[in-house]
């Protein structure tokens, strides 16, 4: 039996992905727009997303727009921006009650799609420019959001690592854009970019819930865009590490944040991607992993330590929070675990545990509409057709030798340490 059966249909200017299931009490619509990650457009896109979210021509203030959503049984509507390898994705999500659970049934799914169409196609703009006041407000909020990264030290350290490690590559950009570029955006320039984005972006609509695909497709006639050849990002180039960089910064905080970046050069769609996922699981992805056992449980150096991979960029990142004086000790234990992995020093049990947990993680992710959409969207980025079942099967089939081969490709790139100086 296929887990999460996805029906794909070409629509006018976008692709409709329908995942029919009766396990939810709501229907979820996720609209994704993808373009190459680029310093000239990243800030425009982040701002555009928030301007489109805040009002439309019909609901020309946030209060009116939100009041309308409340009327639709508190439909939730939020936006999100993310980097996936060399691409920048902006998403709009509408989650709306399935009327079969309500006393006074209204056609909520159709209204949800009409609402999405209103947001995307009928923006609060006139004469080739967005509403000036809205743009100014959202510029302020975007700048504040970018500034706030500094205040969350775990996020800040992670951002600094990527900035340093990927200097000169688009991936060094933040998904929310560049703070110094916000002020120069005008209601006209933003509107011009909006027109370009809806002409050129690769666009996908994912719908999960107890929906009839044919009826849904009919409702989606409300969403019509010009046909397009989606713009492709410049091919990813393999990057070799010339020399390991060590960067130390200091702030008056209590706990040091250690973030380490590796180049794997393995991305979703590559044959060894699944072995890479296994590597990450044994090394640092879970609470049975080598990092957790050795840095936390054996040495008591930290509360959190883990590794994760950037599936479309070919990176692996380790993060941990430690006492600043323990920097050398922590780095050396982490390096030893990497050595062990490269030497094939991991057991059948560690492999079995990791397979069981990854399988569980994938299946659990498909229980939430958000998790399911994220899994399926990997295929849009990588231009593949890997179902959840295939994924589970591939993980099951990974052999030790393949993990060791993957390990040999992994290169340490940058060690970033934000040390604490409070009380010194």
């Amino acid at each position: 039996m296929a887990i999460a059966k996805e029906t794909i249909r070409k629509m006018k200017g976008y692709t409709l992905h329908t995942i029919k299931t009766d396990k939810y009490k709501t229907n979820t619509l996720v609209w994704k727009m993808k373009a190459p990650l680029d310093k000239d457009t990243v800030t425009l896109r982040a701002l555009l997303l928030n301007v489109l979210q805040s009002s439309t021509k019909r609901y020309d203030t946030t209060a009116k727009l939100r009041t309308y959503l409340d009327e639709l049984y508190g439909a939730s509507f939020y936006v999100d921006t993310a980097k996936k390898g060399e691409y920048h994705i902006i998403s709009f999500t509408v989650e709306i009650a399935n009327e079969k659970f309500l006393h006074n049934a209204e056609p909520l799914l159709q209204k949800g799609i009409q609402f999405l169409a209103e947001v995307l196609l009928n923006p609060n703009a006139d004469g080739g420019q967005f509403d000036q006041a809205v743009v100014e407000k959202e510029k302020r909020v975007l700048k504040q959001r970018l500034q706030a990264v500094y205040d969350d030290k775990m996020r800040y350290a992670n951002m600094r690592l990527i900035e340093e490690m990927c200097k000169g590559e688009p991936f060094a950009l933040q998904a929310n854009g560049i703070i110094d570029e916000v002020d120069a955006i005008t209601p006209e320039s933003l509107f011009a970019y909006y027109q370009r984005a809806i002409q050129e972006d690769e666009m996908d609509l994912f719908v999960t819930g107890d929906v009839d695909e044919g009826r849904l497709a009919a409702f989606c006639e409300a969403l019509i865009f010009p046909d397009r050849e989606a713009t492709t990002a410049a091919a990813r180039t393999l990057r070799k590490v010339a020399e390991v960089r060590k960067i130390k910064e200091s702030q008056d905080i209590r706990q040091g944040k250690l973030n380490i970046g590796y180049r794997t050069n393995i991305v979703f769609g590559n044959r060894d991607y699944f072995a890479m996922q296994m590597f990450n699981g044994i090394f640092g992805g879970f609470s049975h992993s080598k990092l957790f056992l050795n840095v936390r449980e054996k040495a008591s150096l930290c509360y959190y330590v883990s590794s994760q991979i950037e599936s479309h960029k070919g990176l692996m990142m380790v993060m941990s929070g430690i006492e600043s004086v323990n920097y050398e000790k922590a780095v050396s234990i982490i390096e030893k675990q990497m050595e062990a992995m490269k030497n094939g020093d991991f057991s059948v049990q560690e492999m079995e545990q990791t397979k069981a947990v990854i399988r569980n993680q994938l299946l659990e992710a498909t229980d939430t509409s958000r998790g399911l959409v994220e899994i399926l969207y990997h295929n849009v980025i990588a231009k593949k057709q890997i179902g959840v079942d295939d994924w589970i099967r591939e993980i099951e089939a990974v052999e030790k030798g393949e993990i060791v081969k993957v390990a040999a490709k992994i290169e340490l790139d940058t060690i970033y340490f934000l040390s604490g100086s409070e009380g010194k």
Partner: protein, 428 residues
């Protein structure tokens, strides 16, 4: 085994109280791959003064001990239980709140095996001095991590401002100094007092068979000997009605100031339907005052006083309760003043309208349906409700009963000048 059917929601709940007093609830979820199980004791950070099982005198235990105990439940003589959960494809976790400690796992496979691992783990304490010492380094770093988090500090700052004596003002994890004093013997004492099955609740949500869960648990529990125990005696200090402090400003390494205002709740000895109705009414009221469709939200956003980090929340438990509102802001003093003014306008009968109430009720009903998609939400909320004599599935019927008059009355009583406080995190 009893059952309760909620036909409008298409859900059926199964429950039984076992001979040793353990309450078991099961909510099967069609179509889900995973099962989520929580095993929860009614014991949290506020329970720091009590009569230990088999003794007569009250003791005062170190701050952070309930949370410390939670960490140590995962380590046994033959190793770390996380390892076993991983082998069985489960992801396990635990958390300690002010008045609960929950152990949980989710898995899509070997659910009964994982259930056994969970129950046996929690019912087989094993603490040594050496293990306790080693954990102090780990929890010390957990405390440091939260210390560096300005949102966390701000949240606790509000509670500290509101409460003079009640232990809710103490950080759940304690401090590096307080946990230094914890011993293995103290962990056993807390364990014996609070982890008796009659003080606990087990809930399974997801892809499970109720009959299988119940019959497994019966067998499992019959193998273990539990004596009947007297009711647990807890003691809480006298707490004045008014807020302990009007304001607090903390200076941290941040770029954007943060401001939260807090209101101390009055009726914190409620339980059952009375508590549910009060809690829902306060939540409706706060949503009408500060939700994204409210006049206040637009005003504050347009005037540059808030951004999307703005949030508001109400918490009510036995013996304490508070509402909070705020977020990142360029002008923390003005934001505090404006939030204050909205609250006190509502107290005087302004802002709230009948039409707004009907709309917000609809919104809350939709939000409830959305939450029912999440086994995690159901498990956590259900347990909290059950410990307070409420039923999660009463939310919609009780929401529907709330009248404009109830809202007016709540607004009038809920806000009081002497129960209002402001907390700010400011750049150094």
């Amino acid at each position: 085994m009893d059952t309760q059917r909620f036909s409008q929601l298409d859900e059926t709940l199964y429950f039984e109280t076992l001979d040793n007093g353990l309450k078991v609830y099961i909510l099967p979820k069609q179509g889900f791959n995973k099962t989520f199980v929580t095993f929860t004791t009614k014991y949290g950070s506020v329970d720091n003064e009590f009569v230990p099982l088999g003794k007569n005198e009250f003791v005062r235990v170190p701050d952070g001990i309930a949370h410390f105990l939670e960490h140590k439940m995962f380590e046994k003589e033959d190793g770390d239980v996380f390892q076993q959960f991983s082998r069985q494809g489960a992801s396990a976790n635990a958390f300690t709140s002010f008045n609960r400690t929950a152990y949980l796992f989710s898995s899509t496979d070997q659910v009964m095996k994982n259930l056994e691992t969970l129950v046996d783990m929690v019912q087989t304490p094993y603490f040594t001095e050496q293990m306790v010492e080693k954990e102090k380094g780990i929890i010390g770093q957990e405390i440091m991590m939260y210390n560096d988090n300005p949102d966390w500090r701000l949240y606790y700052g509000v509670i500290e401002n509101l409460y003079k004596n009640h232990p809710v003002k103490i950080d759940i994890a304690g401090t590096v100094e307080s946990i230094a004093k914890i011993t293995a013997e103290q962990l056993y004492e807390c364990y014996r007092t609070f982890y008796h099955p009659s003080n606990m609740l087990l809930l399974a949500v997801g892809n499970v068979s109720p009959e299988e869960v119940i019959s497994f648990l019966k067998k499992n529990q019959e193998k273990k000997k539990y004596e009947k125990v007297p009711e647990i005696k807890r003691r809480f200090p006298e707490e004045p009605i008014e807020a302990a402090k009007k304001e607090q400003k903390m200076h941290m390494n941040v770029q954007i100031p943060k401001c939260l205002v807090g209101m101390k709740a009055l009726h914190t000895s409620q339980s059952g339907t009375e508590m549910l109705k009060n809690e829902l009414t306060v939540n409706l009221m706060l949503d009408m005052l500060f939700g994204r469709s409210s006049e206040a939200y637009s005003g504050l956003y347009n005037d540059g006083l808030i951004d999307t980090s703005f949030s508001f929340d109400y918490s009510q438990e036995q013996g304490f309760g508070f509402a909070m509102a705020g977020g990142d802001t360029e002008n923390p003093d003005l934001l505090a003043e404006r939030l204050h003014d909205v609250m006190f306008a509502a107290k005087e009968g302004k802002v709230l309208t009948e039409e707004g109430l009907e709309r917000t009720k609809k919104k809350k009903i939709g939000a409830f349906l959305r939450q029912l998609n999440s086994p995690e939400f159901i498990a956590n909320q259900f347990t909290r409700y059950a410990f307070n004599g409420m039923n999660l599935f009463d939310v919609v019927p009780v929401l529907e009963q709330i009248q404009f008059n109830d809202l007016r009355k709540t607004a009038e009583q809920f806000f009081g000048e002497d129960r209002f406080t402001v907390c700010q995190v400011l750049p150094k």
